[in-house]
């Protein structure tokens, strides 16, 4: 609604004689060149920002003048629009809500009690809406901090800064030097069971020091810290202090420093820990130092330092750019943008933001939202993966506050916002159209459905030259790298044992022959026996001869003989089945692809086409087709190159030294290699299976189901 000079509730307040509670402290603070007045309520640690006009009004509140008189005085100018009645009423209501207002009427005690009750239930409500972070105030540290602060005040000055730098800079250099040592296998080391115990012990101490950092920083410039408590972030207790009284510090650097103090303390600790870690022998001390570094360095910078989450970084940012309440203002700004431009509302009140502020808000809000969503989703998956029942409940809860609440809020805004009063139908229509469009896009517009896999250029089995018998390699009968034809002799193996056995067998045959000849006519009965022995001996010899014949290899196809290390082979012992080389025929190469379980159903059921790219010429896409598909799943990759460690995409079992054991069973497919390519054997191939098209919603649903199946087994 546009600004209106009159308020329908003016009569309620006009004859009041208000004054500010004596404990309210007003401080002038400049934000982006504009003076504001920050009113602080010393008991609750809450802070309110007032514009100059509002301050002028409040300054006149002495308990003698009526609101009407104050308002008239504020509007003595010719245009009489310095502050309107609704603004004055709002201001009074706000001050009352903050318990900062005293009036000449008897306070309604029932109402005051009611308000107190509501405030208490508000805390509970907040926790219910966001179960991942519960605040539990424990202790009022103000007296303690006040007593101790003279001893630590020097930290927040030149000496402190110098000391911090002296410790910090060499530590940075050292950390860079020992980077690989520090980071090697970090996740394993941090998450190992024994380390978790150490961390559990170290974490509260470091975080407490962090919070004391905030507390002392507030104390250094005269603020008050009245609340110290525990906050449960995903059930993990973290201490916190209420440091919002720093908002009244006139200097933005001091405000920022208060917000940053915790991180500075942690970084300082991390630096000290680095020295200890470098000097100490492996043991408990070193373990503790390592953990201090991890907490103070990594977690601080990633979580606390990130301005996109509502932790220290956010406050530092909003202090430095002099935009308090960045997040709320961002929402208001975006709401206005949408009301004004998407819904065409002409009487949405434009938030009073300068162009530079507008830019900040424009980018900050969506960025923070995306990041927060991402973090929450990760947390949901983490928690739900670890503790199933509790996790899923918490996840649903968080998902509710992350997704459902904003929808509800948006819906409420649409239905009730005064700014849309005159174009509500249009706004609802446009929203419906937008949602409908998105839904239609998701549900009805088919998008190409594809799965990707990796494979290698592979050979048909018959092109592989395997040793057909155990033996020492003698020499190649055909020179490697030469064209050969079917039936050409290729190599010769030596197997003295086999030769000897053959000789023995032949001798035995002769012996049997001799015995048979001798008995043939003398003793028909014996001859019968020896005849059978002769037969056996002959068979044995034949077998041995076949084996011996296998020592010489022949080409089974036309092609090129390819041998990896021909010169090393003579004299080496090969077992039966060992690979000696390849007889490569043109057009006989193919692609062996490994498909993960998630995708195999699609590949089997609805395959509309296959295309592939070769690693050495990624620009060219070739069409292909499945030549053969192995029905069962295997857990061994055809080559280590496809595993994660070999540069592929399939996670392999780290305990397997060959790197071919996949963590999950995989399916193997053979694809034909396009004719006009001549890739080398073993080259990586990127394969795309086309499954026709399907609306995005269904595609997402399938993926989601898979995610759920694999993460939560539901």
């Amino acid at each position: 609604m546009s600004r209106s000079p009159f308020s329908p509730s003016w009569h309620s307040v006009a004859s009041l004689r208000p004054r500010l509670m004596p404990y309210a402290v007003v401080q002038r603070v400049v934000f982006r060149g504009k003076p504001w007045y920050v009113v602080q309520d010393q008991t609750g640690g809450r802070v309110y920002r007032l514009s100059t006009a509002a301050y002028a009004l409040i300054a006149g509140m002495d308990g003698h003048q009526t609101v009407q008189a104050l308002w008239e005085r504020a509007n003595t100018s010719d245009s009489r629009d310095a502050c309107t009645q609704p603004e004055v009423v709002d201001l009074l209501v706000q001050l009352h809500a903050a318990d900062l207002l005293q009036t000449d009427v008897a306070p309604d005690s029932g109402d005051a009690l009611d308000r107190h009750r509501r405030k208490r239930s508000e805390t509970l409500r907040q926790w219910l809406l966001n179960p991942m972070s519960l605040k539990l105030p424990l202790y009022n540290p103000d007296r303690l901090l006040t007593r101790l602060s003279p001893y630590v005040n020097w930290c927040f000055g030149t000496i402190g800064a110098l000391l911090w730098l002296i410790v910090m800079l060499p530590a940075l250099a050292l950390a860079a030097q020992h980077w690989s040592e520090l980071t090697h296998n970090l996740s394993d080391r941090v998450l190992s069971a024994s380390n978790l115990m150490v961390m559990l012990a170290v974490y509260p101490v470091v975080k407490l020091l962090h919070e004391l950092g905030h507390g002392f920083a507030v104390k250094r410039w005269g603020g008050a810290v009245r609340e110290l408590g525990l906050m449960f972030l995903i059930f993990a207790p973290v201490p916190y202090v209420e440091a919002s009284s720093s908002a009244a510090f006139p200097s933005k650097y001091k405000r920022a420093l208060v917000a940053a103090a915790g991180m500075l303390v942690e970084l300082f600790l991390a630096a000290l820990a680095l020295y200890v870690w470098l000097l100490a022998e492996p043991g408990v001390v070193r373990g503790v130092a390592f953990n201090v570094m991890v907490i103070g360095g990594v977690s601080t910078l990633l979580v606390n330092g990130n301005p996109l989450l509502r932790y220290d970084g956010y406050y530092i940012l909003s202090d430095l750019i002099e935009m308090p309440n960045l997040a709320q203002r961002g929402q208001a700004w975006w709401a206005w943008l949408i009301d004004r431009y998407a819904f065409g509302s002409t009487d949405a009140v434009k938030p009073d933001e300068s162009p530079a502020e507008q830019r900040w808000l424009f980018f900050y809000t969506p960025l923070a939202w995306c990041y927060r969503t991402f973090v929450t989703l990760s947390v949901i998956f983490l928690v739900a993966g670890k503790f199933f029942i509790v996790g899923v409940i918490m996840a649903c809860w968080s998902a509710f506050s992350l997704f459902v609440m904003p929808w509800r809020k948006g819906w409420k805004h649409l239905r009730q916002s005064a700014a849309l009063h005159r174009c509500r139908e249009q706004a609802i229509r446009r929203t419906a159209i937008a949602i409908g469009l998105v839904a239609a896009l998701l549900l009805f517009v088919p998008l190409p459905l594809r799965t990707h896999a990796e494979g290698v250029v592979w050979l048909p089995d018959h092109a592989m030259l395997h040793a057909r018998e155990n033996g020492f390699f003698n020499h190649w009968l055909s020179a490697p790298e030469q064209a050969i034809h079917h039936g050409d002799p290729l190599y010769l193996l030596d197997n003295p044992q086999l030769q000897a056995e053959l000789a023995v067998d032949q001798a035995k045959l002769e012996q049997a022959q001799a015995r048979y000849d001798a008995e043939q006519f003398t003793d028909p009965v014996k001859a019968g026996v020896s005849g059978r022995q002769l037969q056996e001996a002959r068979e044995v010899v034949e077998r041995a001869q076949t084996r011996a014949a296998r020592l010489a290899g022949q080409a089974e196809t036309d092609g090129h003989l390819i041998v990896a290390t021909a010169q090393d082979m003579p004299g080496r012992y090969y077992k039966k089945g060992d690979l000696l080389g390849y007889v490569l025929a043109r057009d006989e190469l193919m692609v062996r692809v490994v498909v993960q379980q998630d995708d195999i159903d699609l590949v089997h059921q609805r395959l509309h086409g296959v295309s592939l790219r070769l690693a050495d010429s990624l620009g060219n896409v070739y069409a292909s087709h499945v030549v053969r598909s192995f029905p069962g799943a295997v857990d061994e990759l055809p080559t280590a190159a496809l595993g994660l460690n070999g540069g592929g995409t399939i996670p392999t079992n780290p305990n397997d030294t060959n790197g071919v054991k996949a963590l999950q069973r995989v399916f193997v497919l053979d694809l034909a290699l396009p004719r006009d390519t001549s890739p080398s054997f073993g080259e990586r191939v990127h394969v795309r299976f086309e499954h026709g098209s399907e609306p995005l919603a269904f595609q997402m649903l399938r993926r989601l189901r898979q995610v759920f199946l694999s993460h939560f087994s539901v």
Partner: protein, 662 residues
């Protein structure tokens, strides 16, 4: 003096600590309200108890009949002692009702029907009794009023206007006199002393507005202090001020409860004083002239629901046009405010529809009742703009002294109950906002009201000529005709048309409200045609002459559907009362306001295509109207709920201003 033990017996009420006996404002969450409303919808299974109650009452009737007058009164007081202890239990009520029934038979010559006993019982149980129109609500109310009054509670019978208050009080006075109960009537222009005397009576008949205003006056006079504080002050020797006007908020029996509790409750009641306007009067004339010069769509846009606003181009235009006016015109805040209000005054408020000019003053007309609301003004600025538009004297600004919503006011009664002919549509809302469950009372005699086919006309002129034709036709049969119009303007237009055709008729509207009683008393004569705004709806009891009754009774013509089907049903309810014969019919036009504002555009187009001349319809059209009225009712309900929510939030936020100023 007052004794409210019977009202409190067996109920746990939180009483306020103010000088009045009243209930503490309920603090319920919206969820609780919703749940209550939902539970209220569940059917009540008390058929057995109801039968037993009726049997008990009839069983005691012979005994009561045998009593002499004095003995009857003595027995009533005897039962009252039990009531004080036990509250209004079925057994005691049966005893009391049997006595009152007998007293009524002796004095008024009317014996309460069984259904009226049920209604009386529902009232004392704190319910809203829904009785079909013409079933004798007034008489049923006497049961509850007398019972509560003999226990010593201050009984307020709340009517929708002074006329009904006076009429009902007079009508029942013999009964009250017989029972030695004093009865007072509060009327609009009464002095404070007389009011105080009226409220000091056992039973007070008063219109909702007068009652609420008197309560507000008391609030202002008594200020913030609690009862204890006041007594302490008196003990300390302070001069005792004027005694309060009311005795306290004990029991309110609201007649036409849906009208009072729902329709009129959408705006708060405000007591204000007039101060000289601190703005230059020329500002208003300038604004009005300027507003008249602006063009639709280029400079301003008119919303569907009587709101209007400037476009950016309009703002620029206004800025240029007022460049050399100086003063407040230089501030964009004031400039927009003035022009906006002036636009509303010019385009959204029509004379004789939203207000009338009487004694050179702008007087607001209540659209649902068709009555003038004296001393009511629109919000600051708008009223002055309208006065300026009509070239009346600018009255100056009104300063609000106190205000209260009906929701809050009636919620403070120790026992709230009501009666109406039309409650079904709003049952949920009444339950939700006032905690009043609705009880449907069966009819005494089957209704002989017959609704003829609706006639739908293509244009307004066609409608009026059709109305005139039909009215003349029916009147010629020796029956009497009541024509209901929605605005003063329409009633006068129709009056002129009838005049032109030389048809004898009477017009009853906000301008002629002085003659209301006379007009109504003769409206049931043969051949009589009465044109009335909605004010002839609720409560109006047209007594039929014997000739008319034999000719087929009263014929009611509805000329335009109201947004609320309840108002239409009330108008139809003027005929065929208490078993009389009667017919009703609707002659409407598809351009009517209701269709314009609430029918979907497509439906309107279809209607326009279907209706080329005059069409009669029994079913399809009625169904459509029902749907549109549902939509309208929903719209207004949402608005009311919204207002209520804002009000309660506001009251919460304004904790620092003290109780009475909220």
């Amino acid at each position: 003096m007052s004794d409210v033990r019977a009202l409190l017996a067996g109920r746990s009420l939180k009483l306020g600590d103010g000088p009045y006996l009243e209930r503490l404002d309920a603090k319920r969450s919206p969820w609780e309200d919703r749940l209550r409303a939902w539970l209220g919808k569940l059917p009540r299974l008390d058929g057995y108890r109801t039968r037993r109650f009726l049997q008990a009452a009839s069983a005691r009737e012979p005994a009561a009949m045998a009593l002499r007058d004095a003995a009857l009164r003595a027995q009533l007081h005897e039962v009252t002692r039990h009531l004080l202890r036990e509250g209004f239990t079925d057994q005691r009520l049966a005893e009391v009702f049997a006595l009152i029934r007998e007293a009524s038979r002796r004095t008024l010559g009317m014996r309460h029907h069984d259904v009226q006993l049920l209604a009386g019982r529902a009232l004392l149980q704190g319910r809203l009794a829904e009785m079909a129109t013409g079933e004798g609500k007034t008489l049923a109310a006497t049961l509850a009023a007398c019972t509560a009054a003999v226990t010593g509670a201050a009984v307020h019978v709340v009517t929708v206007n002074d006329y009904l208050a006076e009429r009902d009080a007079e009508h029942n006075r013999p009964l009250f006199d017989f029972l030695e109960l004093s009865v007072g009537v509060v009327l609009q222009d009464m002095a404070v002393d007389k009011r105080r005397t009226a409220y000091a009576c056992n039973i007070t008949y008063v219109s909702n507005k007068e009652l609420t205003f008197d309560y507000l006056k008391d609030c202002i006079a008594m200020g913030e202090a609690s009862l204890t504080q006041q007594r302490l002050r008196l003990l300390a020797g302070a001069r005792s001020g004027e005694p309060p006007i009311l005795r306290g908020l004990h029991i309110a029996i609201i007649d036409e409860a849906d009208s009072v509790l729902i329709d009129e409750a959408s705006t708060p009641l405000i007591i204000s004083e007039t101060l000289p306007d601190d703005l230059d009067p020329s500002i208003y004339t300038q604004s009005i002239t300027l507003a008249r010069s602006l063009e639709l769509t280029t400079h301003y846009v008119k919303g569907q629901h009587r709101d209007i606003w400037l476009t950016p181009a309009g703002k620029q235009h206004v800025r240029d046009a007022t460049a050399d006016f100086g003063g407040l015109w230089r501030s964009s805040l004031w400039r927009d405010e003035f022009v906006q209000k002036a636009l509303s005054a010019v385009h959204c408020f029509q004379r004789d529809q939203h207000y009338i000019l009487a004694e050179d003053k702008v007087q607001i007309v209540d659209e649902s009742t068709g009555r003038v609301m004296p001393d009511r003004t629109w919000e600051r600025g708008l009223h002055q703009m309208i006065e300026s538009k009509e070239s009346c004297e600018i009255t100056g600004q009104r300063r609000t002294l106190a205000q209260i919503t009906y929701q809050r006011f009636f919620g403070r009664y120790l026992l709230l109950c009501g009666m109406t002919g039309t409650a079904q549509e709003v049952a949920t809302e009444v339950k939700q906002t006032y905690g009043l469950p609705v009880t449907r009372i069966p009819t005494h005699k089957p209704s002989r009201r017959h609704r003829l086919a609706d006639r739908i006309c293509n244009s307004s002129t066609e409608r009026w000529s059709e109305v005139v034709r039909r009215a003349a036709e029916i009147a010629a049969q020796g029956r009497s005709v009541l024509i209901g119009t929605r605005s003063v303007e329409a009633s006068e237009l129709l009056g002129q048309l009838l005049e032109r055709d030389g048809i004898e008729h009477t017009v009853l509207n906000a301008r002629q409200d002085k003659t209301e009683a006379d007009t109504v008393s003769v409206a049931g004569q043969p051949g009589r045609i009465t044109v009335a705004t909605n004010m002839a709806g609720r409560g109006t009891d047209i007594k039929l002459s014997a000739d008319v009754e034999s000719a087929g009774g009263l014929h009611v013509i509805l000329t335009e559907f109201h947004e609320s089907a309840r108002v239409d049903r009330q108008l139809f309810g003027r005929c065929a009362r208490q078993g009389d014969p009667g017919t009703t019919e609707a002659i409407v036009c598809i351009d009517d306001d209701l269709f314009h504002r609430f029918a979907p555009a497509l439906g309107r187009r279809v209607m326009r295509w279907l209706v080329t001349d005059i069409r009669q319809s029994r079913r399809w059209f009625r169904r459509w109207v029902t749907r549109v009225q549902d939509r309208a009712e929903r719209h207004y309900r949402r608005q009311r709920v919204e207002t209520l929510k804002r009000d309660s939030e506001w009251v919460k936020a304004l904790g620092f201003v003290g109780k009475t100023r909220k």
